[in-house]
Amino acid sequence: MKHLLTTRELDRATAVRILDVAEEMAATADREVKKLPALRGKTVVNLFFEDSTRTRLSFESAAKRLSADVITFSAKGSSVSKGESLKDTAQTLVAMGADAIVVRHPASGAAHRLAHAGWIDASIVNAGDGTHEHPTQALLDAFTLRRRIHGADARGQALDGIRVVIVGDILHSRVARSNVWLLATLGAEVHLVAPRTLQPAGIDEWPVTVHALLDDALATEPHAVMMLRIQRERMVDAYFPSEREYGRIWGLTAERFAALPADTMVMHPGPMNRGLEIASVAADSTRSTVLEQVTNGVSIRMAVLYLLVAGVEEERA
């Protein structure tokens, strides 16, 4: 594996392997010395064209625990905003010795261009591109699900037969896209819920069941419900009439949460709009995985950086 750009291109064996390596990485977090020497002498650049403190810190933390040298390049307010192109920026970073570039960009396909345009030769990790994909988020979600379901026996397992409901702005969500492909590849049964206005063209061809109403999807008694962040400005573009109406039909309200099966997990990629797409009682319950998702994010990103930069042949599991 040279790049991680999408989950759509991951086969089942590779996906399970990333999750398994992440288990090893998680185990090191319990040791007294958390650092591994795996990427000593390697340079990982975090290239963020879009603000995202959580994702950036997660990648920084992952790279540092692997002993890599970490450069974080926040492109806002830099030469990039003065007209330097994506190509020039990337070539500059490679000239500084980057072995891997973790890129977050507001435009869909930016990571793909960096990997395939022939501009540079470094490994590329997509840390979220526009409304396209966010593969490490989906991997950490799958990791979180697998741990909750299989516990200590998680290694080697996929998610066969696990029913996951994803709710909200599918149209603009890179998290939803990456989760759809990955969960389906891992054998899960994926249900998507959104008003018609927020369903992307071609959704009928995706490996999912689509519901217009949340209650219809919850009636399937899912193992997990993943609530997506809804952006308030979508109202202005007439995707839905009001926050109140959205919350009433598509929000995980206290009533809906109470009616769920007792072991249904509640997931959210963060940051949450409490009271809009998710009620506090759901977000703060023991069935919520929100904080585990953050912790697991570091393990997943360690696994991805390790597999891309250190190379498969050097792996010592």
Binding site: L86, R113, E133, R174, P200
Partner: protein, 440 residues
């Protein structure tokens, strides 16, 4: 007087013959004996077409000289077999006054590679609010007859109605860029399964079709003439077909790229394939080809849109819309329409020369290759084949979408008003062309 003899070309009726050109006009067609001093072009195996006319070219001058100029754009045109181009108005300053259109027209005449007919803006600054001085542009030395806000849709129905009515009095035509602006805010590619997967904002077919439907009804109501730029969807073809059947005065164009490429090209996020209107589905491509063959779509026009590398070597959403097309147009037309048996060479002459000239009010193209007509002609080798690359381009920009595709056809010679602009497949030097053209 010495002339230029084209020896043994395949003429449009399919027969082989010679063409003698003297003093900028066609002097004789058939079996012609050279006179001492005549220059002879051996056209054995070549098809003689009337000089091609592009109703939709972006020459970028004034203001966009980093991408193209009148000189570089008309050199690209000549290399592609064109002898006349209609230059779109979205320059800087916008071609919305007599001064700008006269400047562009004069530059074309000075360089001599092709006749440059400026297209005037419909509204001041292409802003869609106030009519530009259409009458002044029509009465200027540039004799503007085609008006377009191309790049922008004349979206306000009242402005569109008034423009249609107003140009009828000066014998003009409104060339509409059919794109409902609200339905395409932020649009990046064809709305379909791939846009949903790639996370690129969709440009739905209905945004084009709804404007064309509105405009043909306005044209009917005002008894005016409408031309629809770059038709890209099967639904648009249906609307135009309906309008023509109803007797509405509407003509339509399609670009070469919409006849060949589909939205699948976006899969790699390579912005060379980013164009407006976007590349559509394979079903749309089929419908567009059939529409050219049955005459629903009247012409092929390039929408040649040069951009510097840096406007394409970036993320898709940040890249400019458009692709160059003058050099490749005839090759793509042969590939998609002639080699598929949908159009013969007389048909090519119709969709790439006679009809675009008629729509644009350009004289001298109504009797192709007839004795006495101005000598605008193109000799092409239909048996040629080449793997397309940027080396085939002659303009200033390199944003061709065809790199790596094998395309038929090569332009061997182009003659503009008796002046050779391409000989032996090579552009004639600029000073030679300018001197010969100036001597006429």
């Amino acid at each position: 007087m010495s002339g230029l003899i084209v020896r043994g070309a395949r003429l449009l009726g399919g027969e082989t013959g010679d063409i003698r050109i003297v003093d900028g006009r066609i002097d004789a067609v058939g079996s012609v004996d050279p006179v001492a001093g005549d220059r002879v072009i051996d056209a054995d195996g070549l098809v003689a077409l009337p000089g091609l006319v592009d109703l939709h070219t972006h020459l970028r001058e004034p203001g966009g000289e980093a991408s193209e100029t009148v000189l570089t754009g008309t050199r690209a045109a000549a290399a592609g077999g064109f002898t006349a181009v209609f230059a779109m108005a979205n320059t800087s300053p916008v071609a919305d006054t007599a001064g700008v259109v006269e400047q562009v027209e004069a530059l074309g005449r000075q360089h001599g590679y092709a006749t440059v007919r400026p297209i005037g803006a419909v509204t001041v600054g292409l802003e869609g609010r106030q009519l530009a001085e259409l009458g002044a542009m029509a009465a200027s030395r540039a004799q503007v007859r085609v008006f377009s806000d191309d790049g922008h849709c004349v979206a306000d129905p009242l402005i569109m109605r008034r423009a249609l009515e107003y140009v009828a009095t000066i014998g003009g035509v409104i060339a509409q860029h059919a794109q409902e602006p609200r339905l395409t805010e932020g649009a990046q590619m064809n709305e379909g399964p791939l846009s949903g997967e790639l996370g690129l904002a969709g440009w739905p077919a209905v945004a084009e079709e709804s404007i064309i439907a509105r405009d043909v009804l306005l044209a009917e109501h005002t008894r005016s003439r409408l031309h629809v730029c770059h038709v890209s969807t099967a639904g648009s073809v249906d609307v135009v077909r309906w309008a023509k059947k109803r007797g509405i005065s509407v003509t339509a164009e399609v670009t070469p790229h919409h006849l060949l490429l589909t939205d699948e090209t976006a899969r790699d996020y390579d912005a060379r394939f980013k164009v407006n209107p976007p590349l559509r589905s394979a079903e749309d491509v089929e419908a567009l080809r059939a529409a050219v063959a049955d005459g629903t779509i009247d012409i092929v026009a390039t929408d040649h849109a040069p951009h510097p590398d840096e406007r394409k070597e970036c993320a898709w959403a940040e890249a400019a819309f458009g692709m160059v097309g003058l050099e490749s147009a005839l090759s793509v037309v042969q590939h998609t329409l002639v080699d598929t048996g949908m159009l013969d060479w007389a048909g090519v002459a119709r969709v790439l020369s006679t009809t675009p000239a008629a729509i644009g009010g350009l004289t001298g193209y109504d009797a192709p290759l007839a004795v006495g007509a101005p000598a605008h002609l193109t000799l092409v080798d239909p048996s040629a084949s080449r793997t397309w690359s940027t080396d085939e381009l002659r303009g200033r920009s390199r944003n061709t979408p065809y790199t790596g595709i094998t395309l038929p056809c090569r332009v061997i010679a182009t003659v503009h008003g008796g002046v050779p602009t391409v000989l032996d497949g090579q552009l004639v030097a600029a000073d030679t062309v300018a001197a010969e053209a100036g001597g006429r």
